[in-house]
Subunit: 354 residues, 2 copies
């Protein structure tokens, strides 16, 4: 039996960020406890940091998502800092304000406040044993709805793998489309494309079911509308949320499998790595790759060139190996004989084009 | 600030009804408490009643939804019966198994187990003061997702009006598409049309926002696909759920306003009353009325004729009055000057055609 989790309470609307504290008070009324805000440090620059109104006992923790994707060490440190400052007392709620990286830090910390050891121990599926502290996701990027997924993606000493647990899903989300207006154009494009590509892969995979499909269809349409028709930030933000909602009932596909290699070797972020790969997958996702290129063209996006130039055979083999690690997703995309279609040579020939 | 509520845990899939008790145990683990199943008595005939596996302390209560829509007196009686049998002890969960009527009984009873007085006292918005008993909705009809809405529609001595409360929304839903296969063709059509019409009205009303729209679009498409293309019960059932999800962020419109009158005067159920009216609203919902007629034709549906024949002027005036009670919805549909467009004469001229 599989239980699909949805976010039970969502505040949506222009300038709803002003209601954040009322939302917290209504959803988690115990005002004797403190609140932790984890906010992307970019919001020192955007001005959002100043709009936070923490109470005297609340903690505000900045996470520098521009510098690096969340690491298990980051999560452990935030957890330790909170418990040290509050002598072990737990917060009533953790609020993650930022892109998927920052929201994932909030989600992971909420789990680690009540589960012993290091977050490294919980990279995987359903490993935390104890219910977590509640959390609210406040996205300031439109990607693939971290505020709506079970996963808190973390890079550990051994591997990049999420904490996937019923305890790592948000208890609430606040979606204020005006927060998207400070995002740089390139980043807006690549995070939007992550959602688009997720939906393309999900919709064409055999793992998709009737529960996930409508969410992916609408999420995909929201990105196409945004980048090809009209920049409606409300629709775009809800589209990100819906993309997140679809993930539990679908898989990713060939693009994600190949993107991990170039992210690993070249250090590209998730959205841009996916875009670099997707641009060369017309053989698998023909019509959608055409749409993707139309969106790129309209927004004058220039993908990095020569991405795989000068890589050693060892590095390339490592990248093939990383791609094959997404076995379930490749089965969903290509069937159980996926290695006969997506042979190592085939993968290398795609990488060569980048 | 408006908080949109989603059902936090949903089990979906063919034959997932077999997992009902595991779902209950996982979602509400206190096995020392008993469970109440409220089931449409039609399921004596469909065989579903026999598939329930209540524990020795659990209660099974049948509700005859074919006989009448839920009344406040029904809800009060079920509540009293439970508390009498269990000497005031509360159940861990109430499971509503049936169409919207039966699920609404379960939702209303869950509120009345913890709030004093009669359910008549809570017809309206946000009137219950005390958190309710948890409940799970198990739809066996595909309508407009009672398992996903805040409303428990009840007919009281004074009026038909729902209990609308954060305490009347389900805590879980189990969506098993195979349960739809025993529904008679006419009923399947009319409940499906209720969803279709809801979505048409919602999508064209000014009350709709970016949070509600994608749910209504997909819900509408699911009914069109089901009745015009292929009978995919999975998509149809999820479409009903999504229709329910869209309601909190939208309004109904002219069809609902006019349907209350004929439901009141002639006793028609909600779905068929809406269908009778919608068929004559091409002036307002042109393209969608054409689609509706195509669906009717394909499924050889014959709407009742002469519905308003022989009604007295007093009865007709009462019906106009009932229509105007949906003021907010008519403003959403036609603007603040809706009475200049939908004049009493206009309403009567539409009624005359039925």
């Amino acid at each position: 039996m599989k239980i699909t989790r949805f976010i039970p309470q969502v505040v949506f609307g222009e300038n709803s960020f002003n209601d954040l504290n009322s939302f917290i008070d209504q959803a988690f009324p115990n005002k004797n406890q403190y609140t932790v805000y984890v906010i992307d440090s970019i919001h020192q620059e955007t001005g959002l940091r100043k709009r936070l109104a923490p109470g005297s006992r609340d903690m505000v923790i900045e996470f520098n998502a521009s510098d690096h994707e969340p690491k298990t060490a980051d999560v452990d440190k935030v957890r330790d800092d909170i418990l040290a400052e509050k002598a072990g007392e737990l917060p009533r709620v953790i609020v993650g304000i930022g892109g998927g990286a920052t929201i994932d830090v909030a989600k992971a910390v909420s789990v680690m406040l009540t589960n012993p050891g290091s977050s490294v121990d919980y990279q995987g599926w359903d490993l935390p044993k104890h219910p977590s502290v509640p959390k609210i996701g406040v996205p300031t990027l439109a990607g693939t709805g971290a505020e709506a997924t079970r996963t808190a993606v973390l890079s550990g000493p051994v591997r990049k793998l999420g904490i996937n647990s019923d305890y790592s899903i948000c208890n609430g989300a606040l979606l204020d489309p005006t927060l998207l207006r400070t995002v740089p154009a390139d980043q807006e494009f690549y995070t939007g494309m992550d959602n688009f590509i997720h939906c393309v892969e999900a919709s064409s995979g055999s793992a998709m079911n009737d529960m996930g499909r409508p969410f992916a269809i609408q999420a995909k349409e929201s990105t196409e509308n945004f980048f090809l028709k009209e920049k409606n930030y409300g629709e775009f933000m809800v589209g990100s949320f819906l993309g997140g909602c679809s993930i539990a009932n679908s898989s990713v596909g060939i693009c994600h499998a190949l993107s991990y290699g170039i992210a690993f070797i070249r250090g590209y972020r998730h959205g841009i790595a996916n875009s670099i790969v997707f641009n060369h997958l017309e053989e698998f996702y023909g019509k959608d790759v055409m749409t993707f290129r139309k969106m790129m063209e309209k927004h004058h996006i220039e993908l990095p060139q020569g991405v795989t130039r000068g890589l050693s055979p060892e590095q390339l083999n490592k990248m093939v190996e990383l791609a094959y690690m997404l076995e379930k997703d490749l089965i969903s995309a290509l069937g159980p004989d996926f290695k006969k279609i997506l042979t190592p040579d085939k993968i290398l020939s795609i990488y060569e084009k980048m």
